[in-house]
C-alpha cells in the first residue's frame, strides 16, 4: 500500500505545484490546498500504515495493545489541517480583496512592486 500511496502523494504534489505555476491567484490557493492534502497524506504514510484499529483504548481497559494505527502522525495532521485551513482562509480573503481592487485575480496585475525601481 505504501508504494501506491507514495505515488499518489507525489501526484498530488505535482498537481499542487502545477497550480502554483499558473497565473491566477485563486488557482494558487487551490494549489496550496492540494499541497496541504499531499503533505497530510505524506505524514500519514510515512511511519507505516495499519488497516483498521483506530488508536482508541477500549472502554474499561488501561492500555491499548497492538496492532493499532500510530496516533502521532494523526495528531500532527490534525494540527496541520487546522493551521492550513486558517491561513488559507486568510489568503482567500486577501485574494478577494485584491480582486476587488484590481478587478482580476491574474497575478500579472500585481506589479506595483516595480513602480519605483523603473526610475
Amino acid at each position: 500500500m505504501e508504494l501506491f500511496l507514495a505515488i499518489t502523494v507525489g501526484g498530488l504534489f505535482a498537481a499542487g505545484f502545477y497550480c502554483l505555476m499558473l497565473h491566477s491567484i485563486v488557482r494558487i490557493a487551490l494549489g496550496l490546498v492540494l499541497l496541504g492534502s499531499a503533505t497530510n497524506l505524506l505524514i500519514f504514510t510515512i511511519n507505516g500504515l495499519q488497516r483498521g484499529f483506530a488508536p482508541l483504548v477500549p472502554e474499561g481497559q488501561e492500555a491499548l495493545s497492538p496492532p493499532f494505527a500510530d496516533p502521532v502522525p494523526q495528531a500532527f495532521i490534525l494540527t496541520a489541517i487546522v493551521i492550513n485551513f486558517g491561513l488559507l482562509a486568510l489568503l482567500l480573503v486577501l485574494v478577494h480583496r485584491a480582486a476587488q481592487e484590481t478587478g482580476t485575480d491574474d497575478t500579472r496585475a500585481l506589479r506595483t512592486e516595480l513602480k519605483d525601481s523603473k526610475q
Binding site: 500500500m1 505504501e2 508504494l3 501506491f4 500511496l5 507514495a6 505515488i7 499518489t8 502523494v9 507525489g10 501526484g11 504534489f13 505535482a14 499542487g16 505545484f17 502545477y18 505555476m21 485563486v26 488557482r27 487551490l30 490546498v33 492540494l34 492534502s37 497530510n40 497524506l41 500519514f44 510515512i46 495499519q50 488497516r51 483498521g52 488508536p55 482508541l56 483504548v57 477500549p58 472502554e59 481497559q61 492500555a63 495493545s65 497492538p66 493499532f68 494505527a69 500510530d70 496516533p71 502521532v72 495528531a75 495532521i77 490534525l78 487546522v82 486558517g86 491561513l87 482562509a89 486568510l90 482567500l92 478577494h96 480582486a99 485575480d105 497575478t107 506589479r111 506595483t112 525601481s117
Partner: protein, 776 residues
C-alpha cells in the same frame, strides 16, 4: 611611578581629540568667533606634551601600554610612543593647532561651524590613533575613523554636486584600500600569532618567510597606496580639494595622506627589504612622483596644483621607503617633515588668497604682495623650501634624497627620475607660491582697495609654519635627534647616525639640485605652452579616472539589470524559481546520495483502496486541468472526501471527521470567493512542458517517501501513548489526549494561528466596508 603617570598621560593624550570633538559644538556655540582659539587649546596642549617627551625619547625611553580590549579577536588597546610616533604626533597636533585657529576665522560665518570642528577633531583623533597604536587592528579602527571623517569634511559643502561626488570617490577608493588592508593585517596576524605591532616586528621573519608573504604585502600595499594617493589610486586627492581649504591643508597634505606612508614605514621592518617590496615601492613611487609633477603643471587652480604636487611628494616618499637603505630612510623622514611644513603653509596661503580675493586661479592673480604682506612672506618662505633652495629646510631634505638615490640600488637612473620630479615641483612652487604675489600689476577678481591682509588668525599659522621651515633650515641639528629616532624606528639601528647639515659641499647631489632648479625654471618660463600641451593631453581624464567612472556605472547597470531579472514583480517567476530550487536540491541529494532502488516497500493493496487512490488522483487532475472554476472546486471537495475515506480505512476517525468538515468549509470559501468577481475565462491550457517541473518534484518526493517507508517503522512514541493515555492522560481517545495533553503546546499554537486568521479575515472585511462608508 613616574612611568605609570607617563603611560596614563599617553592614554589621555589618545582620547583628548575625541573629547574635544564631542565638545566642539558646545564650545562653538559658547565662544562664537573665538571658538577656534579655544578649541586650539586641545591640540596645542597635546603638542606641548608630545614635545616634552622628546628628550626622554632620545634617551631611549619608549612609553607603552597594553590593555585587553577584545581578547576574543586578539584586539588590544595598545599604545606605543616611539620616535616615529612622536614625530608624526608632533606634526599632527602642531599643524592641527594652527589649522584649528585658521579655520575659526576662515569659516567664521558658516552655520555649522561647530559640526565642522567636531569632524575635524574627530579626524585628528583618528590620525593620532594611527600613529600611537601598537595593535594592527586598533590602527585599523583609527584608520577608518580618518576615512569617514574625511568623507564628511570633503563633502562639507554638501549641496554642491562636485563636493558630494568627490566625497564619494574619496570614500570608495580609500575604503576599498581599507578593506584590503584589513585582510592583509588579519593574514599577517595569523602568521605571527599576534596583532601587536611591536610583537610582529619582533618576529618579522615569520612573515617574510611565509608562503603568504606576497599576498599580505599586496593587501597591505593596497591600503597604503590608496590612502597615500599613489598611482593609480591618486584620483581621489585632487577631487578632495572641494573641501574647505583648512581641511585640504591638514588632511590632504600634512596628515591623512601621510598615513599610508606612515603605515609603510611602520611595517617596513616586517614587510620590507625583500625584492617584491623594493620593486613595487620604487616603481610605483617614482611613477607617482613624475606623473604627479606633470599633472601639477597642467592646472592653474592653486589648490589643484598643490594637490598634484602633493601626489608627487607622496610618490617620492614611497620610492624612498622602497629603496630601504639607511640613507633613503633618513631622507624620507626629513623630507616628510619638510613637506608637511611647506605644503601646509602653501595650502593655508591659497586659502587666504581665495578668501581675500575671491579666486584661486593663478592666471587671474598677481602683485598681491603689497596688499597681503604677511601672507606673501609666509608664501615666499614655503615656496622656496618647496623648491629646495638653501637655507630652507626643504633644501636639506632634497639633498638627502639625491644622496640616497645615488647611493642606493636605484643609482643614477633613479636620481635622474627624482630630478625630473623635483623640477616639476620647482615649477609648481613658482606658480603657486611666487606668481600670485610677484609682478608689478595687481590682478585679482576684486578691486585693489577691497583686498587687504587676512585677519591675524589666518596669517599666524602660515607665518609660523613658513618660519619653521626657515629656522630648521638654518639650525637643522635642532630637529636632528627626533628625526634620527624616527629613522631608527623604521630602518633599525643601521639607519641611525643621521647627520643634518645645511651645506654639504659641492657634491653630485648639489649638481642634481641645480639641475632640478634649471628644469623647474625652464618649465615655469615655458608655462603657457606647457599648460596648453598638458590640457590638450587631458591626462587626468584617462586611465584610472576612466576606470573609476566605468566601474561605477558598470556596477549600477549590473545592479539594476540584475534586479530587473530577479526581482521583477512577477509572482509566477518567484514561484517557479523557488520550486526549481527545491527540486534542484532534492535532485542533487537523490543523485549524490539516494540513487539506489528503495527496497521492502509494501506493495500489498486492496481493491477498494485502489479505487480511492485513483479517485484522489483523478480529482486532483480534474481540479488542475478544468477550465471551469466550479468543476475545480467540486473536484477539490471530492478529493477531500476520498482523503477522508482513506483515513477511515487506516484507523483515523478523528482525522476523517475533521477532514470532511474542513474540506467542506474550504469548498464553501472558494465558492464564495469565486462568486465575488468575474473570473474571466481562464486562458490556461495544460502544457506538458509547464508540467515537467512539478512532475519532477513530485517524483522526487515520491522517491524519498519510498526510501523512508522502506525503513522499519518506529513505535516508541506510539507505545508510550498507548500505555499512558488512560492512566496518565485520563482519556481513551489517544489522538485527543495527545492534542490536549501530551502535545497540548502544539494545539495552543494552532489555536493562536486560527484566532489570528479569524481576526485577519474580520479586519480585512471591515476595512473594506469602512472605506465604502467613507466614500458614501
Amino acid at each position: 611611578m613616574a612611568c605609570c603617570l607617563l603611560v596614563m598621560a599617553l592614554c589621555i593624550a589618545f582620547f583628548v581629540p575625541f573629547i574635544a570633538a564631542a565638545l566642539a559644538v558646545l564650545i562653538t556655540r559658547l565662544f562664537k568667533s573665538w571658538a577656534g582659539w579655544v578649541l586650539a587649546l586641545f591640540p596645542a596642549g597635546l603638542a606641548v606634551w608630545f614635545g616634552a617627551q622628546v628628550p626622554a625619547g632620545v634617551q631611549g625611553e619608549v612609553p607603552s601600554l597594553t590593555l585587553p580590549w577584545m581578547p576574543d579577536l586578539g584586539i588590544d588597546f595598545a599604545l606605543r610612543l616611539d620616535g616615529l610616533s612622536l614625530l608624526m604626533a608632533l606634526l599632527i597636533t602642531g599643524l592641527g593647532t594652527l589649522v584649528v585657529i585658521y579655520a575659526g576665522r576662515y569659516l567664521v560665518h558658516h552655520e555649522v561651524l561647530g559640526r565642522f570642528y567636531g569632524w575635524l577633531l574627530l579626524f585628528m583623533g583618528g590620525m593620532l590613533g594611527i600613529v600611537l597604536a601598537d595593535n594592527t587592528l586598533l590602527l585599523f579602527v583609527c584608520w577608518e575613523v580618518t576615512t569617514f571623517s574625511s568623507f564628511i569634511l570633503i563633502g562639507f559643502e554638501h549641496k554642491e554636486d562636485a563636493a558630494r561626488e568627490s566625497a564619494q570617490r574619496a570614500l570608495l577608493i580609500t575604503a576599498l584600500g581599507g578593506q584590503s588592508l584589513l585582510v592583509g593585517l588579519l593574514l599577517m596576524g595569523d602568521e605571527v600569532g599576534t596583532l601587536s605591532i611591536s610583537g610582529t616586528i619582533a618576529t618579522s621573519d615569520a612573515v617574510r618567510d611565509s608562503p603568504r608573504y606576497l599576498a599580505i604585502l599586496l593587501l597591505v600595499l593596497g591600503g597604503a597606496f590608496t590612502k597615500s594617493a599613489q598611482m593609480p589610486f591618486h584620483t581621489w586627492l585632487p577631487g578632495a580639494m572641494t573641501a574647505p581649504t583648512p581641511v585640504s591643508a591638514y588632511l590632504h597634505s600634512a596628515t591623512m595622506v601621510k598615513a599610508g606612508v606612515f603605515l609603510l614605514a611602520r611595517l617596513s621592518p616586517v614587510l620590507g627589504g625583500t625584492p617584491p617590496w623594493e620593486t613595487i615601492l620604487t616603481l610605483v613611487g617614482t611613477m607617482t612622483m613624475v606623473l604627479g609633477a606633470l599633472l601639477a603643471l597642467g592646472h592653474t587652480d592653486l589648490k589643484l596644483v598643490l594637490a598634484y604636487a602633493t601626489v608627487s611628494v607622496l610618490g617620492a616618499l614611497v620610492m624612498l621607503l622602497g629603496q630601504g637603505t639607511a640613507a633613503s630612510i633618513q631622507a624620507m623622514v626629513t623630507f616628510l617633515t619638510a613637506h608637511a611644513l611647506y605644503k601646509g603653509t602653501l595650502f593655508l596661503v591659497a586659502g587666504s588668497v581665495d578668501h581675500e580675493t575671491g579666486t584661486r586661479d593663478v592666471a587671474h592673480l598677481s602683485g598681491l604682495r603689497k596688499r597681503l604682506p604677511m601672507t606673501a612672506a609666509a608664501s615666499a618662505a614655503a615656496s622656496l623650501s618647496m623648491m629646495g633652495l638653501p637655507p630652507l629646510f626643504g633644501f636639506v631634505g632634497k639633498e638627502l634624497i639625491y644622496e640616497a638615490c645615488l647611493e642606493g640600488p636605484g643609482g643614477w637612473p633613479l636620481a635622474m627620475g627624482a630630478t625630473v620630479g623635483f623640477g616639476g615641483m620647482v615649477a609648481a612652487a613658482l606658480r603657486v607660491g611666487v606668481q600670485p604675489f610677484a609682478g608689478k600689476t595687481f590682478r585679482a577678481s576684486k578691486p585693489e582697495s577691497k583686498v587687504h591682509e587676512a585677519p591675524p588668525a589666518m596669517w599666524v599659522g602660515p607665518a609660523l609654519l613658513g618660519a619653521a621651515g626657515l629656522v630648521l633650515g638654518l639650525v637643522p641639528w635642532a630637529i636632528q635627534p627626533l628625526l634620527a629616532m624616527a629613522s631608527v624606528d623604521i630602518g633599525g639601528s643601521q639607519a641611525g647616525g643621521l647627520k643634518l647639515t645645511l651645506w654639504h659641499g659641492v657634491t653630485p647631489a648639489l649638481g642634481l639640485s641645480v639641475g632640478s632648479l634649471v628644469i623647474g625654471g625652464g618649465l615655469f618660463a615655458l608655462r603657457q605652452p606647457v599648460l596648453k600641451g598638458l590640457r590638450a593631453l587631458n591626462l587626468s581624464n584617462h586611465g584610472p579616472e576612466r576606470f573609476y567612472q566605468a566601474s561605477l556605472s558598470g556596477l549600477l547597470k549590473l545592479s539594476s539589470s540584475m534586479t530587473r531579472v530577479l526581482q521583477n514583480g512577477s509572482l509566477h517567476q518567484y514561484i517557479v524559481v523557488t520550486l526549481a530550487t527545491f527540486g534542484g536540491l532534492l535532485a542533487l541529494a537523490v543523485v549524490l546520495r539516494l540513487g539506489e532502488w528503495p527496497r521492502g516497500v509494501s506493495k500489498y493493496v486492496l481493491s477498494h483502496e485502489v479505487v480511492v487512490l485513483v479517485g484522489i488522483l483523478a480529482a486532483a487532475v480534474l481540479a488542475v486541468v478544468s477550465r471551469s472554476a466550479l468543476t475545480s472546486i467540486l473536484a477539490l471537495g471530492a478529493l477531500g472526501l476520498a482523503e477522508a475515506l482513506l483515513y477511515v480505512f487506516f484507523g483515523a476517525p478523528d482525522l476523517a471527521m475533521t477532514q470532511i468538515v474542513v474540506q467542506t468549509l474550504t469548498v464553501i470559501l472558494f465558492a464564495l470567493v469565486f462568486s465575488r468577481f468575474p473570473v474571466h475565462p481562464h486562458e490556461h491550457r495544460f502544457r506538458w512542458w509547464t508540467a515537467a517541473l512539478p512532475l519532477a518534484v513530485g517524483g522526487l518526493i515520491t522517491w524519498i517517501i519510498l526510501h523512508v517507508a522502506s525503513t522499519p517503522s518506529h513505535t516508541r512514541l506510539a507505545d508510550f501513548y498507548a500505555t499512558q493515555s488512560v492512566p496518565a492522560g485520563k482519556g481513551l481517545n489517544i489522538v485527543n489526549v495527545i492534542l490536549v495533553d501530551f502535545r497540548a503546546f502544539d494545539t495552543l499554537g494552532e489555536a493562536t494561528v486560527l484566532a489570528t486568521s479569524g481576526l485577519g479575515v474580520y479586519l480585512l472585511f471591515r476595512t473594506r466596508s469602512q472605506r465604502k462608508k467613507r466614500q458614501v
